[in-house]
Amino acid sequence: MPHLLRVRRVDDSGLAVATLGDRPVDVCIDGRRVWTFWTQRDTTPVGSPVGRGPWPVRHAPWPKPLRRHLDGHARITVRDSATGSVSFDRDVALGSGQGPIRVQNKLGVDLGIDKSGRLVPTFAGRSDADIAALLDATDAVIEALRSAGVEPFVAYGTLLGAVREGAVLGHDSDADLGYVSRHTSPVDVARESFEIQRRLRLAGWQTSRYSGGSFKIYVTEAEVTRGLDVFGGFFDDGRLYLMGEIGTDFERDWIYPLGTAELDGRPMPVPARPEKLLEAMYGPSWRKPDPAFQFSTPTRTIRAFDDWFRGTQPGSRFWSKRAYVMANKPLRQTPSTLAKRAHALAVPLGAEVLDVGAGRGADSLWLARQGLSVTAYDYVTRALQPTQSLAEEESLELEVRHLNLTEWRSVFAEGARLAQRPRPRIVLARHVVDSTSGTGREALARLCSMALREGGSLLAEFHLPTGDEGREDVEWMVGRPNRDSFTTLLRDAGASRVDVRELKRDGRPTVNVVGEW
């Protein structure tokens, strides 16, 4: 069958394609896939096709993260992802047209758009040695998971690669592992996941948790650090739940005993009936390549996972991205009003300052430079690294610590640690109340009750929802922070006095709270 796709134009704005069907197509730069889009789903119509053939013309804009690389000239090829049939293959000049186009990071590693729209180091540009290094790491993690008492198998894109192609998928950027617990209750599945992560940490792996049922293991191969996702699963009354995307009627013996499939010549554990799991993951057309596949997980499954396991990192994607964007920008040199106030309160008390939600640490650094002992907390600590280095250079008493207000384990453990070192403290929480969930707000009050038993204060400032004022809320706002419910939380957590002031900051309704313990 002839391919029903004509590429009319490739320019700085994107691709103009004429097509009737909706199929995934790969865009390659100098022979390497950098992006895949669906010809209907990811495009918009652009006027009439009069005189240009029978099919409507549609526009596929370049993905934003790719745009800044598209300056120069290159051979651009457009091909059908499933059949490989080529619709366009020409030298194209974009932007200034000067020099070759390179879609690479600073280290010269080739990048591509993954299925979530992020520009990441995909496997397409990796050498066999690099892929072997990742497979070594996958093997080692599988062993570590086995020693923690579960039977892991490769899952999602890694399973698809192994079963369909016998190799890692070129457009993939990470490796996925899954296991099905012997437990049937989400409580026990989460506890088991905690225990597995603990064992892996003890064995020296770098990990980070993103829900009660799944976490990431970081593996550095060559100069690229990749995350191996470990998805927990369980059976409940004939229904399989596998973190991420699956909630479906399933047979236990379609998973166990595990079988084997080859991934780049390496035997990898796979479910007993991998095709059954692949169909649950990618639908009946899983055999057809689709690098731009998007999950259409039923609302019932998403709700179940959200309720059981998630909600432990609201807003983290926003703050991680911001940490990346702000990394090379100079740090604010002047303290916030709240930090000046914290300083004034801390000095006479001989108190240390706990800067919760420290962000990039501008206030923490200023306070430490005034001679105070400061702990800078955040759940995205990456943004604090430059501040930590500066503090070390200047021999300041500034410690950076991870704290996630929406994980009770994090708050209880840090609260216990602080309770072991009793001293007066000032807790500074600038734009924490408005950037965390209800659980996080409760946890902030709990942390104060644990940290301030020897006396001290909480200084908090947060924006309120703008309501009817016709202005959008700050982009980091989570839920609807409320003045009265927050002050009630503080009183319930043992504050002897709570002073509240409403003001405008940056033209936004803002609340300033001082709680005394």
Partner: protein, 72 residues
């Protein structure tokens, strides 16, 4: 409200009441389900920290807290 009351010709109010009831049930289910991860967290903290704390060995307690925090 009985489902059989929702026959063709049922009033808009009857449908609205049913929609509200489904929304309430979903909210109730969320309320129950969201205790899972919190209960798991509490059990994990107790299991990992209570035993060393019962020993009253300051050093062991500190180490247990440090080890626990590293595993998060």
């Amino acid at each position: 409200m009985e489902l059989r009351s929702l026959r063709p010709g049922s009033s808009k109010a009857a449908f609205r009441r049913l929609e509200e009831r489904v929304a309430d049930l979903e909210a109730d289910l969320t309320e129950v389900r969201r205790h899972n991860v919190r209960l798991a967290e509490i059990a994990d903290v107790v299991q990992e920290l209570l035993v060393p704390m019962a020993s009253r060995d300051e050093e062991a307690i500190q180490k247990a807290i440090e080890r626990f925090q590293e595993s998060l």
